[in-house]
Amino acid sequence: MSAPAVTRAPAAPAPLAPFVGLSTLWVQITGTWCNLECRHCINASGPRAPWLKPLDGETIRRAIREAEDLGVKEIYFTGGEPFLHGEILPLLERALDVAPTTVLTNGTLIGPEQADALAGLAARAPYSLEIRVSLDDPDRARNDAIRGEGAWAKAVEAVRRLRERGLLPIVTATEITAAAHPGPETMHGRFRDFLREQGVERPRLKIMPVFALGRQPASGEVPLTEEDLVGFDRSILQCADARVVAAGGIYACPILAGLPGARLSRGSLAESFRPAPLYHPACATCHRTGMTCRNS
C-alpha cells in the first residue's frame, strides 16, 4: 500500500518587519563559545566546537566604525561569553568611544583584575558602560541546576566585585524559574531583596522571557502570519532598529544571530538595511511579550 498523497498549500512568505534606522548594534563577539552550557541557552553556546565562530577584532572595529557613521545609539557585546575573547577590553574601549556600550556576561570570568579594568574603562569613557550579569535564580541550587555547578557563586561574586568598584551591574534573568515561585512576590521583588542582602544598594534588573530555540526549542509558539500582525505596530520590534554583526554577516536580531534565515547581508551594515522576515517561532515571543534585548 502506498502512502496517501499529502497536499499542502504553499507556505506563505514570512511577514516582514520594517527597518526604521540603526539604533542598536549588537556584536556577537564570541559566537557560541562559552565556558558554561546553560540548559535554556538561546543559541546553544558551550565550551566545545562552537557552531557559530567568534569574530576577529578587525571585523568588529569595522562594524563599529560603520555604525558610528550611521548614527548608532548604543552598542552591545554578547556571545557566548564575551570575556573569553582576547580583545574584549580594547574592543569595549573602542565601542565606548562611539556610544554607550553594554556587555552581557555570565560573570564567571570577572576576577579582581577584570573588575579593575572595567572600572577604569567606565571612568574614562565618554558614555555609560553597562555590565549585564546573568543569574537565573537567587537560590543557588535552582540557579545551578540551569546554569551549571558553581555558576551562582561566581556570578554573585562578580556582582559584589563590580559594586565594590562603584559599577552598577544589571542582573539579567530569564523567567525560567518563575513557575517555581508561586505567590504574590514577583521575580523582580525576589531578585531585588536578594541583591540588597548582598549589599547592592541600587539593584538593577532585566528579566526576559524564555525563547523557544537553542537548547530550549519546545514551546507553543508558531511562526507569525500576516493575520497575527493586523493592527500591530511592527516598528516596535527590535529588528526594526537593531542589527547584529556575527560570523557570516549581519543578522536581524541577537536571538537569531547566525541563523541563515535571519541573515540580511554578508558584509556591510548598510546592506542589511531592509525589512527582516519574521520567520522564526521566536519572533512570535517578541510579538507576544513586546520584549527587547536592550537594557530598557
Binding site: 534606522g21 558610528e68 557613521d69 550611521l70 548614527g71 548608532v72 545609539k73 548604543e74 562611539v98 556610544a99 554607550p100 567606565a122 558614555y127 555609560s128 558602560l129 553597562e130 562603584g166 559599577l167 552598577l168 514577583t186 523582580h188 544598594e201 541600587r202 538593577r204 534588573l205 527587547t292 537594557n295 530598557s296
Partner: protein, 266 residues
Amino acid sequence: MPEQLGEYRRIAVLGGVYSNAPALEATLADARARGVEAVFCLGDMGGFGPHPNRVFPLLREHGVLAVQGNYDESLASGRTDCGCGYTDPRDNHYAAISYRYTFEGTSTEHKAWLGALPRHRRLKLGPHRVLMCHGSPRVINEFLWESATPDGLLRHLMERAEADVMLCTHTGIKWHRALRDARHAINVGVIGRPENDGRPNVWYTVLTAGPDLTVEFVPVHYDHETLAREMEREGLPPEFAETIRTGWWTTCLENLPARERARGKY
C-alpha cells in the same frame, strides 16, 4: 515657500511641568526678570504632581509656546497609559498611579488644548536654527540621557532635521553638548521634579544668541514643602512627596544609565 521662522535673541525653555504649579510660577517670574523675549515649554504638563488643572491657566496667561510631550499626547487621545516608555514593573506601577490621577483630574478643555500642541517647533535664535522636541526629533518618548547619547547620533538627528541647535527634555536631567561642528544639543531639564541630586530645586534653561550660543541652566527654588503636603493630601504615593522634599528620585528610575544612576541615592 520656505517656512517663516520666529526670530529671537534670548529665550527661556522649560521642560516637564508635571503638574508642579508653584515651580512653574517661580520659573515664569524668574524668566521674565531675565528679560527673555519668549518662554517655550517642551511638553509633559501633567503627571507626578497634584491638581493637574492648575498649570494650564499659567501656561496660557503667560503665552508659553509649547510642544507636545508623550503625557500630553496620551491625555489628549484618551490612552490608558502615559507612554513614558518605562520597562520595569515597579516604574510602571508608579507611572500608572500618577497617570490615572492626572487623567481623571484634567479637564476636557485642557485635554483638547494638549491635543492641539505641535510635536516640534522651529525658530531662529540669532544665526542658529533651533529645533524643539520632547524626547528626540524622531520619537516623542525617546530618552536622551547625557551618558547614553552619542555625538554621532546627535549629528545624525540634527543633520536630518536641518538644525544647528536641538532642544529636548523627557529624561528629567539637564545637559548641554557642544559638538565639534558648532552644533549644540541641549536637554533643558524639567521643572516638575528635582533632578536626583539631593537638592529640591528644579532647573530651566536660558539661551542667548551671539556669535556662539550661550546656554545657562537656571536653578529655581520654590515652596516645595507646600507642594509635597498637597501631594500627600491628594493621596499621591509618599515616594513622590519624598522626591519633592529631598531631591532624590524614588521611582521611575530603572531606565537611568549606569552613570546617572550612580549619582542618585536609590
